[in-house]
Structures are given as C-alpha cells and as structure tokens.
Amino acid sequence: MSENERAARNRKITKIIMWIVLLILFIMIVFPFIMVVINVFKTKADINSHPLALIGKHGFTTKNFPKAMKKMHFWRVFGNSLIITLSSTVLTLLLSAMCAFVLVRNKWKACTLLFTMMIASMVIPFQVLMVPLVSFYGGLLNVLNHRLTLILMHTGFSLSMATFLYHGAIHTNIPLELEEAALIDGCTRWQTFWKVVYPLLTPTTATVAIIDAMAFWNDYLLPSLVLTDKSLYTIPIATQVFYGTFSTDIGLILAALLMAMLPILILYVFLQKYIVAGVTSGAVKG
C-alpha cells in the first residue's frame, strides 16, 4: 500500500468516526425536540400519562393546531411579531456594525468609554432595569404601547452584544490595508465602510441576524411591559393564555411553539449559506 493510499484510508476512517460522533451528539441534542413533535399530536391526558408513546390512548389528533391558532389570534400576532422582529433586527445590524467600526478603528476616549460601558451593560440583569424603564417611558414620557417604542428598545438592548460581535470580527478579520487602499482611492470613511468593510462582515452579519432575530421573536418580558394593548401583542405574549398556575394545556403550548419556531428555522437555514460563503470570497481581493 502506498503512502498516499494509506493516508486516504486514514482520512476516510477519521471521517467515519467524526460522522458517528456527530450522529450521537445529534440524537442527544435533538431528543427533547422530538418529544415536542411527538406530543403535539396528542391530547393533554395522553401527553401527561404516555409522553413517550407515538400515538396516545385517545388517538392521533391535529386539533391542537387550529385550537391554538384561534385562541392566540395567530395571524394578527404573527404579523406583529414579524414587523417588530424584522425592523429591530435590521436596525441592530446596521447600527451596531457602524458603531463597532468606529470603536475598533479609533483610540479616542469616547470610544473606549462607550465600548467599556457596552460590555458592562451586557451583564445587567434585566430585572434591574424593568421597573425604572417603564416608569421613565410610561410614567414620564407616555410612549409605551407603540411598536416603534418596542423596536427602538429592542435595538438599544441588543446593540451592546451585536457591537461586541462586530468589534471582534472587524478587529481580527478586516485588514487595515484594505481600508487604507480605499481611502487612497478617494473613498470617504463612510463609503469605505459600506463598500469595503461591511460586505466582508457577512458571516458575522448572518450570525448576529440569527441570534438577534431569534431573541426578538421569542422575547416575552420586554414586549409584555411595552405593549399592553391587545391588538399589538406578539406571539410570546399571546401564548401566555395557555400557561396557567393551576392548569397548563401543554398540547396547545407545543402547537404554538412549533408554529412560532418555523420562521426562525427557515431564516436560519437560509442565512447558513452566507455564514459559509461570506468572507472566503471577499478575502481573496485583499
């Protein structure tokens, strides 16, 4: 056997081992999710007594879906969630990338101060801000109950982390020479950023987009504080009618959960491509 063949065989074996490890991890990690899928097609009594059974004593049922949709006014809250998530995510992506750019490339005092405060702010427990936040914006300024207020607040809260992620990406992966070349070619800083730097940040943009979109889509506490008018409810606030202190209709919760997570899953699969494709093509130019 030649050196090459042996190496090829070894590579193959490594691949297979890796694949098996992945599969085991995959089953472990997906198991609870499978539980959700199995149980959504059962009645409450069956979910509780035979959670592992594929089909319960009372038979296969799809009733949980229409019932959940009706109870939570699905399409209305879905629309609200969509507007709010999309707007907040786009705003966060643009603003935090800009912010990170100026913070990485300059050693001004204001930059250091802002960045330090942002990092520190990521560890403030939300409960600390909850009551002061509503006292200020509700009690004093009376601007609660607008989608825009929630969008701006979402953006404000997520800016720190998004900036932090962009900061790392710009710092490590964007060659300074690239920008200098652009500046020499006559671009302004603003143009350099949008034409040269931002496209190179695509993998980070995709990552931040998923993380933030998911956080906004699933957030309960902040929207519940800001949006008290029922016509503005988002999906997580609407599903709370299924949670009770004394009785929890788990079938409806699972149905709502599955319907709610679908858009994010699609977004994730879609953005995956950009995470893969991203910088590899851009970096060649550099």
């Binding site: 409450k44 009594a45 509780n48 007594s49 109870k71 507007i83 999309l86 707007s87 786009v90 705003l91 643009l94 909850m130 009551v131 002061p132 509503v134 006292s135 914006y137 509700g138 009690g139 009376n142 609660l144 109950n145 607008h146 989608r147 825009l148 969008i151 949008w194 034409k195 931002y198 309960y220 519940s224 504080l225 008290t228 008018d229 029922k230 016509s231 503005l232 709370q240 009618v241 949670y243 009770g244 202190t245 004394f246 009785s247 929890t248 209709d249």
Partner: protein, 430 residues
C-alpha cells in the same frame, strides 16, 4: 448600499408609526385566575356589545405583584384588578376605590375592608381539605364511601391500609409544591385555633414552643400518614403535580390534600364520577376535622386614579356579576366557581365546588389567615419539603418554622398595632 439602507429604514418607520395608541376609555380588567381566562374574554366581548362599553381582559404569566408594579410604574393601571387577599392589604390603601356605598356589601361575609372602607370584592369561595375519589375506594371496599366515616386519623389510617390490602398500590398523593405544603397545609396549624393572630405573635416573640403545640402535632401526625401511603414515597420531591392529579382523577390513588381549584386540573383527565372534598382527618375533638378551611379567594379592586366614568363602569360590572341572572350564571356555570354572595343561589356544577358550597352553607368553614409575610410560603415551604423528603425530623421542622417567624416582619395589623385596622381584620375574618 446606502440607498437601499435608507429605503429599508423608511419602510420600517412607515410600518411602525401606523400603530395606534391605547384608548383611554377602555374598561381594562386584570384576571389572575388563568383557568377562567377564556371565559372572561368571551364574557367581556358580549358584555361590551350589550352595554356599550369597551371591556378588555388581560392576563399575565408574571406574578401578580411584579405585574402590577410595572403597570403602576408606567402609570397605566387596570381599571379592575383581580388579586389575592394579601394584595388588597398592600395595594388597597394607595390604589383602591372605596366601595362602601355599593349594594352588594351587605350580601357577603368575605368582603375586605381597610380602615372602614370596603376595598376588596370577593370573586369566589375556595377551600382546602382532602380530595377523595369515592369510585376508586368503592372499587376495593365494595361499599359506598361516606367521607363522614373517616373523621379521625385512626379511621383514615385504617381505610388506607384496607385499600392497600385490597390491591391499591398507594392510596395517597402529596403535592410537593411549596405553596401547597406551606401556604395551604402548614397554614392550617395557624388557622385551626381560636386566635391565629395571637399564635403568630407568640411564634414571632418566641413564646410558642411549636414542637409541643397540639395542633401542629395533630396535623403533622396526619401528614405522616399521608406520607406513609404516598405513591411517590421513594422520591416525593420528584412527584409532578399533573401526574398526581391525573392519578387521583383516574382512581389510581384515592386521596390528596388540595382545594376545589384542583378541579380545573382534574377535569382535563378521564376523571371518576364521584369525587369530593372532606376535612383533613385528625385525632382531635376541637371540631376542626368536621370543617374545611377557606373563604373568599381572589378579590377585585377598582383603581382610584382612573376617570370617574370608568370607575362607574367598573362598579356597574361588579353589580352585574352579583345581581343579574346573566352574571350569576357566568360565575357559577361558565366559570365553575363557588359564589361568595348569598344572593347567588345557583347550584355549583363541579363535585369539589359542590363539597365546598355545602360546607360553606352549613357554616363549616374555618377562615383563612391572610397576613403571612410574602416569603412565608417559600421559606417554610422549603422546610416542609425537607420534612417530606425525610431530610429533617419533626423537631427540626418545628425549629425551622419557629426561626422563620422570629426573623419575620409581621404584616398582621392585629399584631403590629393599627387598632382600627385590627378590629377591621377581626370582623372581616368571620
């Protein structure tokens, strides 16, 4: 890029600015009883159509106190809020409207007054005791089950043994939740005596020796028997509430300490026909083993800062609930609650509620003690859980409960001084 960005931003702004602000004349109702949320919403939409008001019902997953504090912080209170008795005492003086002039005041013994002003409107009556599954018992003993036959602990122990001998693996279940153990069960140690306030003060001052207290020992003796026959004896702390209730509903176990609110859980399963509630069996002759413990549960108060027009609408709705046929029907038949007003004579539909109603009608309810400090259920609940798990014995449990009360800040007006409030509390607790 820049143009595209600007276009996106502009779209967002247009899309979001279209949002309408809340209507200031909405009759908002906060409902903290999740099991009737759907019924409340349907009622609100019918009621709004018929009475030309804009009634909207809200519910929150958050605790009542946390939720209302954010609402008050944003100066956007509900017109009507449904809260627990203790919340009326904390919120009432600042935020509740005086309802003393309302016609329903004379028709209930469960109304809450503070400083001579009526502030809390009782939504329903709820009581605690032992829930039994008569069908499951009959299946083994062959005889109809008469709850009056197991008044004493000895009778109860004998019956459980008989069930075990007859093939029922474990006749009892115990909810391990801290609120059930401390706020509902241990609570009866304070309530089943002449003067709960004095007893609490004694605990606080360290003059009560709990380990030697007759009532404490009597109730803990019963708890020991419940533990002895517990289906989850091996891992009592892992027992899930839904599972325990399902076992009770389907007759796998026969007894569980609980309250009539448990019906909303039980009725989701294939429940047995004949179920009911009975007093906690005890070897005592003080009469407490013939009574359930309970009274008014969940109270409405009207916010005093909203417009007079809204206050009037809220008062009208409360009157509708008490005095019209529709309102009575809604409370009893639609929501399956036990009415707290004597003007409402409709028959209660669920079996546990029926038991509670009959004890209430016979004047066999021992009153709730509503002045526990807010952390009582959590701290003492942890001690009760340790006892349930066999981590500590009865003497240690008594020590921990005593230590809790000695360090607690009392909230009972009868103890803390307020003379006027004290008499008020006494009359209200009847």
């Amino acid at each position: 890029m820049r143009r595209r960005t600007a276009a996106v931003m502009a779209t967002i702004l247009v899309a979001t600015l279209g949002a309408t602000p809340v209507l200031a004349d909405e009759l908002s109702v906060f409902n903290s009883k999740s099991e009737i949320e759907e019924q409340m919403e349907d009622m609100a939409s019918d009621y709004s159509d018929e009475n030309d008001v804009d009634m909207e019902v809200y519910y929150s997953q958050d605790t009542v106190a946390a939720h209302l504090s954010t609402k008050y912080a944003s100066k956007d209170p509900y017109v009507l809020s449904m809260v627990d008795a203790k919340d009326i005492y904390s919120l009432g003086p600042d935020h509740a409207l005086d309802l003393s002039d309302q016609p329903w005041v004379k028709d209930s013994s469960q109304i809450i007054s503070i400083d001579g002003k009526v502030m809390g409107f009782p939504v329903c009556i709820e009581a605690r005791g032992v829930i039994y599954n008569a069908d499951a018992i009959k299946k083994i003993t062959g005889e109809d089950f008469d709850p009056a036959s197991v008044k004493t602990l000895d009778d109860f122990d004998a019956l459980c043994q008989k069930l075990v001998d007859g093939g029922m693996e474990a006749p009892t279940g115990i909810m391990k939740e801290d609120w059930s153990l401390a706020a509902h069960y241990l609570q009866e140690v304070y309530e089943e005596r002449e003067d709960p306030s004095a007893f609490i003060k004694g605990l606080h001052d360290g003059t009560v020796d709990l380990a030697k207290d007759e009532k404490f020992n009597s109730l803990m003796d019963t708890f020991d028997v419940l533990m002895k026959y517990n289906y989850a004896k091996d891992a009592p702390i892992a027992a899930e509430r839904e599972t325990t209730e399902q076992k009770l509903a389907e007759g796998e176990i026969a007894f569980m300490f609980g309250g009539n609110w448990d019906w909303s859980v039980i009725n989701a399963y294939d429940y047995s026909e004949n179920m009911g509630m009975m007093p906690v069996p005890q070897n005592t002759d003080d009469g407490s083993n013939e009574k359930l413990v309970g009274g008014g549960s969940k109270y409405f108060f009207i916010d005093n800062s909203v417009s007079e027009d809204l206050q009037k609408q809220a008062e009208d709705w409360l009157n509708w609930l008490v005095n019209t046929d529709d309102g009575k029907d809604f409370l009893v038949n639609t929501c399956a609650l036990v009415p707290a007003f004597k003007t409402n004579t409709l028959d209660v539909s669920d079996p546990l509620g029926k038991s509670v109603k009959s004890y209430a009608d016979d004047d066999k309810l021992i009153a709730n003690y509503n002045y526990d400090p807010d952390d009582h259920y959590s701290v003492c609940g942890a001690s009760m859980q340790k006892y349930l798990a066999g981590e500590i014995d009865r003497a240690e449990l008594a020590k921990e409960v005593e230590a809790y009360w000695q360090g607690a800040t009392l909230a009972d007006p009868a103890v803390t001084g307020g003379a006027a409030a004290g008499t008020e509390a006494a009359t209200e607790a009847e």
